[in-house]
C-alpha cells in the first residue's frame, strides 16, 4: 500500500469561466468545502490574476475565451461538460484539459476531479519541460561533435577520452555539456592549458 500525503486545497483560488447557474453554485459550494476561494466570470476571462485552477464551460466556450494561446494554460484546466457532442469535446481538448466534470455538478466528484487535474497538469508540465530540454540537447548535438573533434585534435585524445574531458569540464562549471560546447569553449586556444598529464 503506497503512502500519499492528503491533498489539501486550502487557500487555493479557482476561476470559474461559466455563466452563473445552479451548476456553478454547487461547484462553488463544494470548492468552499475544500477551503478554496472562487471567482465566476463570463463571457470572457481577461486575466488570470493569481488563480490556481480554471473551471470552464465546455458546452458554450468559444475561441478567444482565455487570455493565452490555445493549449497554453498556465494552470490546470477543468472542463465542465454537459454536451458530449464530438465538436464540443474537440474544442475542450484544444484548451488543454487536465480533467473534466460532468454536469449536473453534484457534491461528489469535485475533490477527485481536482486531485486528478492537478496531478495531470503537473505531469504535463514536467514532460513539457523534459521535452524542451531534450530538444535543446538534440539541437546542440553538432556543437558537441565539433567540440569532441577539437579536443581530440588539440589534446591527442581518443573519442571517449575527449568526451570524458568535456563532461568533466562541464561539471566543474556546473553547466550542461551542450551549453559548454555551444560557448565555443573548446575551440579556444586556452583549453590546451587543461591538458591532462
Amino acid at each position: 500500500m503506497s503512502y500519499t500525503i492528503t491533498p489539501n486545497f486550502r487557500g487555493w483560488r479557482a476561476v470559474i469561466v461559466h455563466r452563473q447557474s445552479e451548476n456553478v453554485e454547487r461547484l462553488v459550494r463544494q470548492l468552499s468545502r475544500l477551503g478554496m476561494d472562487c471567482e465566476q466570470v463570463w463571457p470572457k476571462l481577461s486575466q488570470l490574476s493569481d488563480a490556481d485552477v480554471v473551471f470552464f464551460d465546455g458546452d458554450n466556450g468559444f475561441d478567444g475565451l482565455f487570455p493565452w494561446p490555445e493549449g497554453h494554460a498556465p494552470v490546470p484546466m477543468v472542463a465542465l461538460l454537459g454536451s458530449e457532442a464530438p465538436g464540443r469535446l474537440e474544442w475542450a481538448l484544444r484548451q488543454g484539459v487536465s480533467a473534466h466534470l460532468l454536469k449536473p455538478i453534484g457534491s461528489g466528484g469535485v475533490f477527485s476531479t481536482l486531485v486528478i487535474a492537478v496531478a495531470n497538469f503537473t505531469q504535463q508540465q514536467m514532460l513539457a519541460h523534459e521535452i524542451a530540454e531534450l530538444k535543446t540537447k538534440a539541437r546542440l548535438r553538432p556543437k558537441v561533435v565539433r567540440a569532441i573533434l577539437s579536443v581530440m585534435q588539440s589534446q591527442s585524445l581518443d573519442e571517449d577520452a575527449a568526451y570524458a574531458f568535456i563532461r568533466s569540464e562541464a561539471m566543474q562549471r556546473r553547466q550542461s555539456v551542450e551549453a559548454l560546447c555551444e560557448s565555443d569553449f573548446f575551440n579556444q586556444p586556452h583549453t590546451r592549458r587543461h591538458k591532462r598529464v
Binding site: M1, R33, S107
Partner: protein
C-alpha cells in the same frame, strides 16, 4: 387523523456487521416509538425496515424502494462505507435525506446526507494524540480489505510518518475472514509500540481473541505494553469480543456509555427499561436514536418532512443529546461532536481517559489539518495538553 410519515430504516442486521446494525436499528426504533408516544408530536413516524444483509446491491434496491414507491423522504441507515456509497446516488435521485451515524473515512460531503458520525479528524487524530505520546509512534496496522480499512490506514500512516514513527507492518484481510494467524505472527516478530485495528466485525473479534493469547504467551503484548487501538469498537461489541480480550485496549468514539451528561443518564435508563438491564448503550445505538429525535424535532418545527424544509431547520439548531451538545455544520453537513478516548476496563465498560473540552468541528476533507503541525503539537505540548483532548484520567 394523525399524519403518518414513513421513515426508512436501512440496516444490515444479518451480515458481517450485524452487531452494529442491530444496535443502530434498536436505537432508531426506540426513538421512533418515543416520538409516536409523545402527544407533542402531531404526526406518527412509520418505520419501513429493510435488511440487506451483506448484499450491496440490496442496499441499492431497498433504498430505491423506500424512497420511490414507499415515499420515504428520510432514511436512517447504513453502517459500512461501501453500503453508504450504494445509497447516495439513490437519495440524490429522489432528493431525500440519508442520516449516516457511524465513524467513517471522510472525503465526502453530500447535500443529501446528514453525517452524525465522525471522520478521521474526529477519530484517528484524537486517538493518536492520546496514544503516540504514551506508547510511541511505531505501529502495526491491521485492516479489513475495503475502503474503511484502506483509507483509515492511509491517514494513520500519514500521521505516524509525520511523528517520525514508522508503520512496521500492515496487512489487510478479506471482510468476514477470521484467518488472522499471519497477522499475529508478524506483530510478534515486528514488535510495534501499538497495533491499530482497522478490522471490522468477525475479523476484529477474532483478532482480539488471538491477540489476548499472544499476550498470555508473550507479556510484551499485554495491553499495558502494546495495546490495540481502534476507531470503531463500541459497547455493542463487548460480548462478541469478550470482556477479557478487550480489557486494557483503547478505542476512540464520540460517545461512551460512561459519560456523565444528564441526557445520557436518561438514555441509559430508557434503554435498560426497554431492552433489559444487561443492555449496553453504544455510540451506534445512541447516534441513531439521536438522529431520529433530531429529525422529529425538525419535522415538528417545519410541519414537513421535505428535505428542503428539514435541512435548513437542522442546520440552524443546536441540540442537547445523549451524545452531548451537537450541531450540524452548514458547509459540510457533518455534526460537530466531542471525541474522546476510552480504555476498556472490564465490567465497568470504557473508562474515559481523555475527552475534547468542547465541540470539535468535523473536517471531512482535512482542510484545516496539517500532519506536520499535528506532530509538532505532540512534541511541543507533551502528553498532557493536546490540541483537542483534555485528559481526564
Amino acid at each position: 387523523m394523525t399524519i403518518s410519515i414513513p421513515i426508512g430504516l436501512l440496516f444490515s442486521v444479518s451480515g458481517t456487521d450485524k452487531r452494529i446494525g442491530i444496535d443502530a436499528l434498536d436505537g432508531a426504533l426506540m426513538a421512533l416509538e418515543e416520538v409516536n408516544a409523545d402527544p407533542s408530536f402531531e404526526f406518527e413516524l412509520t418505520p419501513i425496515i429493510r435488511d440487506p444483509g451483506d448484499s450491496l446491491s440490496l442496499f441499492h434496491k431497498f433504498a430505491d424502494e423506500m424512497m420511490g414507491e414507499l415515499g420515504c423522504r428520510q432514511v436512517i441507515g447504513t453502517v459500512t462505507s461501501s453500503s453508504r456509497k450504494e445509497v447516495i446516488p439513490v437519495v440524490e435521485k429522489h432528493d431525500a435525506l440519508l442520516w449516516y451515524c457511524c465513524p467513517y473515512e471522510g472525503f465526502e460531503s453530500c447535500e443529501n446526507v446528514i453525517y452524525i458520525g465522525s471522520t478521521p479528524s474526529l477519530h484517528m487524530v484524537p486517538l493518536f494524540e492520546y496514544v503516540i505520546p504514551r506508547f510511541g509512534a511505531n505501529a502495526y496496522i491491521a485492516g479489513s480489505n475495503y475502503i474503511w480499512g484502506w483509507e483509515t490506514s492511509r491517514v494513520a500512516r500519514e500521521l505516524i510518518t509525520a511523528c517520525n514513527g514508522s508503520v512496521v507492518g500492515d496487512r489487510f484481510i478479506p471482510l468476514g475472514s477470521e484467518d488472522i494467524g499471519r497477522l499475529i505472527e508478524e506483530i510478534e516478530a515486528k514488535r510495534p509500540d501499538f497495533v491499530l485495528n482497522n478490522l471490522i466485525g468477525n475479523s476484529s473479534y477474532a483478532f482480539f481473541d488471538a491477540y489476548q493469547k499472544l499476550g498470555q504467551r508473550n507479556p510484551a503484548f499485554l495491553p499495558e505494553n502494546t495495546p490495540i487501538v481502534s476507531c470503531n469498537i463500541a459497547e455493542c461489541e463487548i460480548d462478541s469480543i469478550g470482556v477479557k480480550a478487550l480489557t486494557g485496549h483503547f478505542t476512540t468514539a464520540v460517545y461512551f456509555e460512561n459519560q456523565s451528561n444528564a441526557e445520557n443518564q436518561e438514555m441509559i435508563a430508557a434503554v435498560r427499561a426497554r431492552y433489559g438491564l444487561s443492555r449496553r448503550c453504544s455510540n451506534y445505538l445512541v447516534s441513531n436514536y439521536t438522529a431520529v429525535k433530531m429529525l422529529a424535532a425538525a419535522i415538528r418545527d417545519t410541519g414537513s418532512d421535505k428535505v428542503s424544509d428539514v435541512r435548513p431547520n437542522l442546520l440552524a439548531r443546536r441540540f442537547q443529546t445523549a451524545l452531548g451538545p451537537l450541531k450540524i455544520d452548514k458547509l459540510t453537513n457533518h455534526a460537530a461532536l466531542r471525541p474522546g478516548v476510552g480504555r476498556f476496563d472490564g465490567e465497568n465498560g470504557f473508562e474515559i481517559v481523555a475527552v475534547a473540552d468542547e465541540l470539535v468541528e468535523a473536517d471531512p476533507y482535512f482542510v484545516h489539518f496539517d500532519a506536520r503541525d499535528f506532530a509538532k503539537g505532540l512534541s511541543a505540548k507533551g502528553a498532557t495538553q493536546q490540541q483537542h483532548l483534555k485528559v481526564v484520567k
